[in-house]
Symmetry: C2
Subunit: 249 residues, 2 copies
């Protein structure tokens, strides 16, 4: 006879999961506090993620997965419309929960990357004007992967240090930004990360900046972020030359 | 005057992105080959990801983001219906591209985790029977995070070594599986990972198993997976005791 998890155990799992959702797992952190510059006085942090057709999904799902578990953080997914969109690969269908016009200010603005879709969005006046307007209200403006190129294209990274996806590092200079080959870079309120998966590292640092080390460690454990990649090939600084060349770098 | 990326540069970016999509960035790897056991002879690998309401999004987006870039891999998102679903947090809206009944076999079956939603799906006869049927056709059956508990609940991990989300490690034994505290565990064709973000590490190993080290390294660089978490708190083996207790562990 097939052994399955019996009803009592599965109920216990249910209760454990529910408890986790109600306490630590979903809501990590001791709660809001003033940041080191005294800039924040509120107890809630609204993080608004810009979604557009053609995003690289991990660019925003990585940050989302850590942020939504932090006590005090509200994650809002905003798009030009709330219609269904497709990812850069055409495979993942997703949608925003609110339209851009519903968001007039935010604490953290996060712009994910994409390829053609990012450029189309950056050149769409509705999206571009919204990003520039919301940026005037934000405590943090974050670009993940080529999302930082959208910020640069809109003039927000002029004279600043920043980073982006490794293949496009020379695209920051034409917009007046200086490329820094780090996993993530902060210059005043402008935080940018390297490609795709780097958004998770930036986000943990951002959570620490908002709510302290303990909250960030809780978020890290909540998503069991104990990375063990089987190779040391995740950066243009460490990957074998043939791997870089195979990707056109 | 605001400096923006000029048209010529942006066009170059467009061309670079397009080239990347057509070559290395989107399609990493030298192409299919026989695996070490000689089990595979085809040139394509179909990876079917089971989506259900209440998934933990990073559980499947992490693997997806690496897999879809591998030359020869087709990623299919399958659900009981193709209606819009919400994630475990209620924040992310996503949808499957095909219904379960459209998939009668696959090379790789990947089951992501969730909390209540995972249990509801595991107890839905349509989903449960589909998973058990597809498993009879797969070359690999993969459980990410509590996705491995669904596999266990359906009797697929009996007598096998497996892993799951750190908080639920004692939920495998009642289904006859032995918990192994590793980032990912393979036992014959059954591969399971630790929580949430661990799916990326498992996936790179899976790509290597399918297509070799070079393909896996290309996928790793394509998603710039060079993790630098700011703390060593991502595992119950390394996190401070107070962090584990704060999450109810």
């Amino acid at each position: 006879m097939t052994r399955t998890i019996d009803r009592r155990t599965f109920t216990a799992l249910s209760l454990a999961s529910t408890a986790a959702l109600l306490t630590g797992c979903a809501h990590a952190g001791p709660g809001p506090q003033l940041d080191s510059t005294g800039r924040r006085t509120g107890t809630r942090t609204q993080v608004t993620i810009l979604l557009y057709p053609g995003t690289t999904v991990l660019d925003w799902v990585g940050p989302y997965e850590a942020l939504h578990r932090v006590n005090g953080v509200e994650v809002v997914l905003a798009g030009k419309t709330t219609d269904i969109m497709k990812s850069d690969s055409g495979i993942v269908a997703y949608k925003a929960n609110v339209s851009l016009e519903e968001i007039t200010r935010t604490d953290v603005l996060l712009v994910p990357g994409g390829a053609q879709g990012m450029m189309t969005a950056a050149n769409d006046p509705v999206v571009a004007n919204w990003v520039k307007q919301i940026d005037t209200t934000s405590l943090y403006t974050v670009g993940i992967c080529t999302g930082s190129l959208m910020l640069a294209h809109l003039g927000l990274l002029q004279g600043r240090r920043a980073t982006t996806y490794w293949k496009f590092s020379d695209m920051l200079a034409p917009a007046g930004a200086t490329f820094v080959p780090e996993r993530w870079v902060k210059d005043d309120k402008y935080w940018t990360s390297a490609g795709v998966s780097a958004g998770m590292d930036l986000t943990l640092a951002l959570i620490a900046d908002l709510y302290g080390d303990k909250a960030a460690m809780m978020a890290q454990l909540a998503i069991e972020y104990d990375p063990h990649p089987p190779y040391n090939a995740g950066s243009a600084r460490t990957a074998p030359r043939e791997i870089i060349e195979a990707l056109g770098g």
